[in-house]
Symmetry: C2
Subunit: 228 residues, 2 copies
């Protein structure tokens, strides 16, 4: 059972020497020197997973968007701002990474042009043209030297359907889905509840618990799948 798996994972240092890279937090996409587009990700889930990975003996690196969180013990941290920064940082880790866990809420789009000066307001309406960012977790999972790749799906509806579709489409080994429409969990909350879907059709629901505890449960599950 899961309690046994978790205890076993940490007692046996299940990820001893395994290189784990975790992306965490939001990204910020500049509109001009003052304004940006971002999202409500706090980074807490990713930092909790990093903490658990390090506890399980992994060589752990966090690629962190702008968050207000202390670096967990025994983790390396690379701070980035935009999705493009995070993509470059993730690509630099390929080849030195056995497991990649993409918890970051990366902006899907960025402003097509970034104004060099603060945009002056004049009109009653305005529009921002956006262009798609590179999909980081897809790029990692489709790399010739791909690590075991875990994605996250923050959804507000049809969570299971969107999550499984995302796992297939992006060639992930595992996806962790959470329903961000529920205000008790996710984003800025200290708690979360998720369902894990694996490529071999295994799935596991984890009821609401602290992100710290959830981090340990996820790392135990990832370690067991990684070693299959």
């Amino acid at each position: 059972d899961i309690a046994y798996t978790v205890a076993n994972c940490f007692e046996s240092n299940a990820l001893d020497g395994i290189r784990v890279v975790i992306s965490a937090g939001p990204t910020r996409e500049a509109i001009d020197p003052v304004r940006y587009i971002s999202n409500h990700s706090s980074g807490k889930m990713g930092f909790a997973i990093a903490n658990a990975a390090a506890e399980a003996g992994a060589l752990t690196t966090i690629i962190a968007g702008p968050v207000n969180l202390a670096t967990p013990e025994n983790c390396q941290r690379i701070d980035v701002t935009s999705a493009q920064d995070m993509y470059q940082s993730a690509m630099q880790q390929i080849g030195q990474c056995d497991i990649f866990i993409a918890t970051a809420a990366v902006a899907d789009y960025r402003p097509a042009t970034v104004a060099e000066q603060k945009i002056k307001k004049n009109d009653d309406t305005m529009s921002i043209q956006l262009t798609k960012n590179i999909d980081i977790v897809s790029a990692v999972a489709s790399h010739s030297n791909r690590p075991f790749t875990v994605g996250f799906a923050a959804e507000t509806q049809d969570v299971e359907r969107y999550a499984k579709d995302k796992m297939q489409r992006k060639n992930l080994d595992m996806i962790v889905a959470n329903d961000v429409a529920n205000n008790n969990i996710g984003f800025n909350s200290d708690d979360n509840a998720v369902t894990i879907f694996c490529r071999d059709d295994d799935s596991m629901a984890i009821a609401q618990t602290s992100k710290q505890q959830l981090g340990r449960l996820l790392i135990a599950k990832i370690a067991s799948q990684y070693k299959q």
Copy 2:
């Protein structure tokens, strides 16, 4: 001189019993339940001014956007998220406010429609239609029961010209201009340097100093202008 004015301001409790309302921090304008538009304001300048106002004896209220700052001693705090929330909160203070200091970096525009569900990405490009927010400091300064109104101008070019134009256009009593193109000061920095312009053509430059100290210099200047 300024040192004398400042010492005198705090020794004499220059704002004793005066009701000061300060808006601070950024606002967040929702795109959907997950994404938003915001800006780099940290709220530090506004909170430092609130601290100085309370030290000078004012009954001080902060209307704060999303910031990671502790409430200064002897200040009331109202937390808001969007420009519309901040506008409503500011309007509720009119009639119980002698001096309004608008340090908040209020979003000029908000998405014209807010998606109820997380927007799914499909196309390579996308555009966000924006609509203008009510100008809070203008609304305060043009109210029939207007307080003494102080604005801020965060500019990246032509600072003096834009600032003076903004003071006239918005009917402000005073404007505090800073050059946010200088990375040593402004926004997330603990330091700032500003130039103050007053309606009576008085102006005063304050060289780079801590935001705490700058808060006290600004409150001394505001108190002296308010009492003229």
